[in-house]
C-alpha cells in the first residue's frame, strides 16, 4: 500500500497545474506586481511571503522602501517604539536591524519569482502546455515586463545596499545567489532596461497596472542621474536623454498636485508613468499606501479619509523650511500639504522637542484616501486605502532633465528652466512662483525636489547625490540622534548587509564600516 502514502493538497497547485493556462501565468504575473504592494497572500496580512518578520512594516515593498528613503532624512520622523525603527532617523542602524533585513529580503524574493516565471515561459514550456497564438504572445510580452520589474528590484537594492545578491533565470530554485557589486548591478540593469525598452508596449498603451516603455526609460534616467553614487562616474547626458524620451512621449502635469496622492489617482495617467496599485478591498496591505495615510494621521484622521490615525510619522522643520522662510507660516505653494483640521503649521509645532510626541513636528497630509468627489475610499471600514503609489511621475523627469543639464549633461538650459516653471506654475496656480535662469542652481533643484517629491521615497538618494546625508553641510533636527543635528559616519550612505543574510550565504560581504 506504499502509493497510498502519495497524497496531494486539494487546493494548492503543483507547478505544472499552476502554469497550465494563460490565467495561471497571469496569476503569477499578478503576484510579481502585487509583491510590491502587499507582503503576502492574504489582504491585511496572515500569509506573509517572507516569514519571521512583520508583514506590514518589514517585508512589503512600499513601506520599508519609504522608511529607508525618508526616515533617515529631514522629511520624516517616527514616534513609535517598533524595535529599531528610531535608528533610521538617528542614522545609527546596525547589521541586525529587522527592517533592513526585510528590505534586503524583498527584492531578491521578487527576483526569484520573476526568474521562475521566465523559466516557465520558454517556447518549449508553452508548446508543451499547448499555449499558442495570441496567448503565447501575451506571455512572451509579459516576460519583458517582468525583466523590467527585475531591473527595478535590483535598482532599489543597489540604491540601498550598494552590492547585492544576484540571480538570473539561469539559476534554478536552490541555487545560492552570488554577490554583485554596485557597478556590476548597474551594468546589468542598464543592459536589461535597454533590451526591454524595445519590447515593451509604447508609452501609454499598456493596460492599467502594467508597465510600458516609459517606465524603463524613466528608471534609466533616474539611475543615470545617480551614476556617480553607483559607479563613480557621471552619466548626465544619458540621464537627460532618457528623461527627455519620457517627457516627449505625451505626458502632461495633472492640474492639481494633491490629486496625485489620493484615492482616484489611478485616473492621473497623464502624469503618472507607473504606479504600484493599491485597493481598499482587493489589494489590502499594511505595507502600502494604507500605511502612508494612517501613519501620518492622528486625531485628524477624517481629513485623510481613513478610520484612524496611527500618530506615527511627521516631518522635521527641515522640510517645512523649504516652503516657509523664517517664522512665516503661509505660502502660495499648494504642495505644502501640512495643515489639517487638528494641526496647524506654526513655528512652535514645527519644533520636535519630544521625539515620541506626535503633536511635535510638521504634519504631512499628502497621502489620503479621499476621492476628488469628496467620497472616502471603497473599504467601508475605512481601514484599507485605494490610493496607488506612483513610482515615476512626469515632474521627476523634468527635475532629472534639469539637474542633469546643470551638472554638465548635454541638453537645453532654457528648456530645463521651462520644465521647472511648469512644475512651479502648477504649484502656485499661476506664474507667481516662476523662477529665472539665475535662480536655477543645483541647490535649488535639490530643494525643489524636496518640495515636489517629498514622501515619495527619493530624499535619501537625493541627499547622497549632493553629499548632504551624512556630512555637516546640512543638518536637520535629530539628525544623528541629537536635537540640533550632527554629522555622522559616511558609512550610513549605504545600509549594511543584514548579518543573517551573510551567515546563510557566505558569498556576501559586508559594506565598509559595519
Amino acid at each position: 500500500c506504499s502509493n497510498k502514502l502519495d497524497l496531494f493538497p486539494q487546493n494548492d497547485f503543483t507547478p505544472d497545474k499552476a502554469y497550465s493556462s494563460v490565467d495561471g501565468y497571469n496569476s503569477v504575473l499578478a503576484k510579481i506586481y502585487g509583491a510590491l504592494s502587499v507582503g503576502g497572500n492574504t489582504g491585511g496580512g496572515g500569509q506573509p511571503d517572507i516569514t519571521g518578520l512583520d508583514e506590514g512594516s518589514q517585508i512589503a515593498f512600499i513601506r520599508p522602501f519609504f522608511n529607508m528613503q525618508e526616515l533617515p532624512t529631514d522629511e520624516a520622523m517616527v514616534t513609535w517604539n517598533d524595535q529599531t525603527i528610531k535608528d533610521f532617523h538617528n542614522l545609527s542602524w546596525t547589521s541586525t536591524d529587522p527592517f533592513i533585513k526585510g528590505m534586503y529580503a524583498r527584492p531578491i524574493w521578487n527576483v526569484a519569482l520573476i526568474n521562475e516565471f521566465i523559466r516557465e515561459s520558454t517556447d518549449a514550456k508553452l508548446n508543451e502546455r499547448g499555449i499558442t497564438g495570441a496567448n503565447a504572445t501575451n506571455i512572451k510580452n509579459a516576460v519583458a515586463e517582468v525583466r523590467f520589474l527585475r531591473a527595478f528590484n535590483y535598482w532599489a537594492a543597489m540604491d540601498l545596499f550598494g552590492k547585492y545578491s544576484f540571480l538570473t533565470e539561469a539559476d534554478a530554485v536552490g541555487v545560492t545567489p552570488v554577490e554583485k557589486s554596485s557597478s556590476e548591478l548597474f551594468a546589468y540593469i542598464e543592459k536589461e532596461l535597454k533590451e526591454v525598452e524595445n519590447i515593451l508596449p509604447a508609452a501609454k498603451t499598456a493596460i492599467y497596472g502594467r508597465v510600458d516603455k516609459s517606465a524603463a526609460q524613466a528608471l534609466l534616467a533616474r539611475m543615470y542621474l545617480n551614476a556617480k553614487t553607483y559607479i563613480g562616474t557621471e552619466k548626465n547626458t544619458e540621464a537627460a536623454t532618457y528623461a527627455k524620451k519620457v517627457i516627449d512621449a505625451g505626458y502632461a502635469l495633472t492640474p492639481k498636485y494633491h490629486e496625485l496622492f489620493q484615492a482616484d489617482n489611478h485616473t492621473k495617467t497623464g502624469e503618472i508613468i507607473w504606479a504600484i496599485n493599491c485597493d481598499g478591498l482587493k489589494t489590502q496591505g499594511y505595507g502600502n499606501t494604507t500605511f502612508l495615510a494612517h501613519a501620518a494621521a492622528g486625531d485628524d484622521y477624517p481629513d485623510f479619509g481613513v478610520n484612524s490615525g496611527w500618530a506615527g510619522y511627521r516631518a522635521t522643520k527641515g522640510l517645512s523650511s523649504k516652503f516657509f522662510s523664517g517664522n512665516t507660516t503661509t505660502t502660495n505653494d499648494k504642495r505644502a500639504l501640512f495643515t489639517t483640521s487638528k494641526f496647524r503649521i506654526d513655528p512652535v509645532e514645527n519644533e520636535i522637542d519630544d521625539v515620541s510626541n506626535f503633536a511635535n513636528g510638521v504634519h504631512v497630509k499628502k497621502w489620503t484616501n479621499n476621492y476628488t468627489s469628496g467620497a472616502k475610499g471603497t473599504d467601508i471600514t475605512g481601514n484599507f486605502v485605494d490610493t496607488d503609489f506612483p513610482i515615476f511621475r512626469l515632474s521627476e523627469m523634468y527635475l532629472i532633465y534639469t539637474e542633469a543639464v546643470l551638472r554638465g549633461g548635454t541638453g537645453d538650459r532654457n528648456l530645463a528652466l521651462s520644465y521647472i516653471n511648469k512644475i512651479r506654475e502648477r504649484a502656485y496656480g499661476s506664474t507667481s512662483g516662476n523662477i529665472s535662469a539665475n535662480d536655477l542652481t543645483l541647490q535649488f533643484i535639490l530643494d525643489e525636489r524636496a518640495r515636489e517629491l517629498y514622501w515619495e521615497g527619493h530624499r535619501r538618494t537625493d541627499l547622497i547625490r549632493f553629499d548632504q546625508l551624512t556630512t555637516s553641510t546640512y543638518l536637520w533636527p535629530w539628525k544623528g540622534g541629537v536635537s540640533a543635528g550632527r554629522a555622522v559616519d559616511t558609512k550610513y550612505k549605504l545600509f549594511p548587509i543584514p548579518a543573517e543574510a551573510r551567515t546563510v550565504n557566505t558569498n556576501l560581504t559586508q559594506n565598509p564600516g559595519y
Binding site: 496531494f8 494548492d12 511571503d49 530554485v173
Partner: protein, 965 residues
Amino acid sequence: QRTITGKVTDATDKSELIGVTVSVKGTTVGTQTDVSGNYSIAVPNNQAILVFSFIGKTSKEVVVGTQTAINVALVDDSKILDEVVVVAYGTSKKADLTGSIIAVNAKDFQKGNIQSSEQLLQGKVAGLQVTSGGGSAGGGSTIRIRGTASLNASNDPLIVIDGIPVEGNGIAGSANLLNTINPNDIESMSVLKDASAAALYGSRASNGVIIITTKKGSSGKPTFNFNTAVSAGQVFTKVDVLTGDQVREIINARAAQTGDNTYKNLLGTENTDWQDQIFRTAIGTDNNLSAGGTYKKVPFRVSLGYSNQNGILKTNNFNRTSGAINLSPKFLDNALAVNVNLKLANTNNRFADEGAIGSALRMDPTKPVMTDNPYGGYYQWLDGQGKYKQLSGFNPLGLLEQRDNTSTVNRLIGNIELDYKLPFLPDLHLRTNLGLDNTKGSGTDLINALSATNYLTSGRLTDYKQSKSNKLWDVSLFYEKDLVGIKSKIDVLALHSYQDFVTNVYNFPAYSADGKTIIPGTEPIFATDKPQYRLDSYLGRINYSFMGKYLATASIRRDASSKFSPATRVGYFPAVALAWKVRDDIFKNSKIVSDMKLRVGYGVTGQQDFGQFYPYLARYAQSTATAQYQFGDKFYTFYRPAAYDANISWETTTTKNLALDFGFANNRINGTVELFQKDTKDLLATVPVAYGSTFDINLFTNVGSLTNKGVEVVLNTTPIKKDKLRWDLGFNFTRNNTEITALRKQEDPNFTGIPVSGISGGTGNSIGLHAIGQWPYTYYVFQQVYDENGTPLEGVYVDRNKDGQINDSDRYLFQKPAPSMLFGVSTSVNYNKFTFSASGHAMVGNYLYNNLQSERSVLRNLIDPLLVINNATTLLTKTNFFNNRYLSDYYIENASFFRLDNINVGYYVGKVFGNTTLSLNASVNNVFFVTKYSGLDPENSSATGVDNTIYPRPRVYTFGLNFDF
C-alpha cells in the same frame, strides 16, 4: 438458606475494613461491611462461594462449607509490584517493566473539579509538566514530558486512547479536544517517558506517550455508581491597575505642571473597576451514572455523564454530555476475546471574547460602564463625529455581551479489539484492533450590529465547521512461551498498523449580523479544504526474561509517513532495554530492602507531527480575495510558490535512560531515581536559508540538534500505617536541562541565532532567541541600568560591547522560560471514615517576560497620542517611565512558584438505604500559590514565556456526593 457473619480486616495492619463488598458468587445477593468491618449475609447452601472485594485489595473467594462465621483478611494489591500497568500494545506487571513508565490509577488522580483529562495528572508524575492555558471553562493544557525535544515540530506527547493514537491537534469550535473525554470514565493513565517504552509508537513518540485506558466491565453482579458535584469558581488574583482617582491625580498634576489641559479635559468622574465588571462567580455541576458487572456472561460497563461549567469570565460556558460503553465478552471457549469500546461526547461551548481581559486593564477607570451612545450603551471613546474612535480600547463588558460565539463539538471514539488464541498453537494470539476517532466541530460567531468592534459592517456573523476522521487498523501476532527448562519466558509481538487522518475544513464568508450581507473581501477562495496524512507501520518486539530477574526488551518499528517524499518517508526506530532485579540476587534475604531493580534503556523515536502536510512538494498557493492585483479592469488572484524542501525527513530523538527502582521497609518507602538524556538531531526547524535560494528566507527543514538531559526522583512513603490511620506522602522531583547544540548545517561563528517570541506592543518586536548553547527561547534583551535607589532609569542600558552607542549589538541572552526543576507533592491521610488529601506542584528556574508591565505601565498609556486616556498598571507609580521600553531585561522576572493544587476531604457515610452506600467529599482546587512574580499567575503555558493577559485560573470549591449500589 442460612446466614453467615464475620469480620473483614486488612491483612497487613489488622485494621477493620469498611465498605467491603461481600457477595454470593453467581447470584445477585450481596452486602457490605459496616463501620467495624462486620457483615452478615444469607447463603443458599454449603456450596455457595463468598466473594470479598474492595478497592486496593486483592479479591478473595471462600467456599462456605459448614462454616457459620467467616473472618477474612484482605491483602493489599498495592503489593505494588503485582500491579498491572498498561504499556504500548499490551500490559505488563510493574515488576517486569524495563522502560520508564508511570501508571497513575483513578484513585491517585488529581481530585476536585477537573474538566479535562490531562489535568488528572497534574503534579503526579516526575518529568511530566501539565500547564493549563488559563482558567477558561473546558480549556486545555500544554503537556510536556521531559521538557521539549523539538523547535518547530510538536512537543506534545502522543495520546493513545484505548489503543487508538488520537488526533492531538484541535478542531474548529473546540478549545481542547481532550475535554471530550469524561475524566470519570478513565481507569488509568500510563506515561511512557523513555524511548524503550515509547519507541513502539515509533514515529510519533519523541515527546513521550500518554496511554489513557477507560474503565471496563468486571466480573460479578452489576453494581452502580452515581456521583454528583457542584462547584463554584472565583477569581482570586487581579492585576493591579490604577484607580480612577489615581489616574485623575496623575493627569491633573501633569496638567498643572505643563499648563496643557488636553488630557485633563478628557477625564471622567468615575472609579470603575473594569476587572470586576467582566468576572463572576462561576457555578458548575458534574453528574455521572455508571453501571458495571457481568450480564449473561458478558462483562460490561456503561456510563453517562453530564457536566456544565461556567467560566469566571462572563458569558463563558462549557457543557458536556458523554456516554461510554464497554463490552468484553469471550467466545469459543475463551479462545476469542472481544473488547468493544464506544465513547460518545457532545460538548457545547460558548467562548467569551478573551480580549475583554486585556481591555479591562486598558480601559479608562474614570469612565462609566454604560452611557448613552450608538454602541448599545457600552461606554466607548468617541471621535469628533460621535463615532467610535478607532484604535482606542473596547469596552470590555461590551466585548463579552455583544458577542455570542457558540460551538458544538461531537466526538465518537470507538474500537473493536479481537484476540484469538490459535487452537493448534494456544501460545500464539492473532489480534486486531479496528479504531475510529471521529470529531465534528461547528459553530457560529455572532458580533452584534451595535458592537463598536464591527459597527461599520453592521456586526459580523461567521460560521465555522471542521470534521476530523482518524482511522486505525492494527493487526498483530503475539506469541508467549514459558520455557521452564531454561528458566526463561519469552514473548514476541509482530504488528502492522495503518492510520489515516483526514480533516475536512469548510470555509464560509462573513456576513453582517443580520446574516444578509456578505462583508466584502471575506468570501473564501475555496469552500473546502482537505488536509490529510497517513502512516504505515511495522513493528516487532521481543520480551525475554531469565530466571524471572534478568529482563530484556528489544523492538524495532518501521514507519512510513505521507508527509515525506517517497524517497525519504521511511524511518526505522529501534529500542532496547535491560533490567536486573538486584534484590533477587543481592538483597534476597534483606528485611530492609524489599525491592531493587536496575534498568537501562536506549531507543530512537521519530517526529513528523507539524503543521504542514506536504512540506516536500513544490506548490503554488492562491491568494485570498483581498490580495489581488488589477490589470486593466480585472483583478487577478495571486499564485504564489511556497518554499519547500524536497528532502525533508524524520526528526529523530535518541534517548538513553538509566534507572534504579527501590523499595525499603516492606515498600513503605519506595521510589525511583532516573537519569535520562535525549538527543534530537535533524531537528524539524524553521531556519534561515540563503535569501533568494527559495521562496522564503526561512525554510522548514531538518537542521540542527538539541540535547535534553535530566534527573527524576520519585519517592513514595507511608510514614504512618496503624489501625484505622494511614498517612501516605509522595514526592517527585525533576531536574532538566535543555540546550540547542546546533542550528546550522555548517558551523558559523557569526550566527547569533533565530529571533523568536513575538511580543505585544510596537510592531514586530521579539524578545527571544534560539541560540547555540542556550535553552530554546532564551530571552534576548538590553541590560537595564538602575539608580542608587534601585529604580530603573528609563531607556538607559548597559553598553555591553563598549562601542559608545546603544544599539541592537548591546542585547544579551538572559534567562529562559522553561523551568529547570519541577516538583510534585501529594499526601493523603485515612482515618476511620475520613480521608484527607492534598497535592501541589512547583517549578523553579522559569522566567517570564512580563509583557503586561512592559506595555501597560508607562505614562504614555494614560496620555495616549490618540487623545484618549488608557489605564496603566500601578508599576507606573514606581518607575515613572514615560515611554515603553519593551526590550529591557527589567521585565524578565523570576516566575518560580509553588502551587497547592488541591485539598480534598472525604467522608464515608456508609449504608444510607438498602444496599446503597454514600460518601461525601469536598475539594478546593487551585488553593493558593507562592511566587515572586509580579504578574497575575507565574504559570504560563506558552513556550515563549511571553506573559500577557492570561484568563485567570479560578479557585474552585466543589462539594460532591458519591453513591454506590
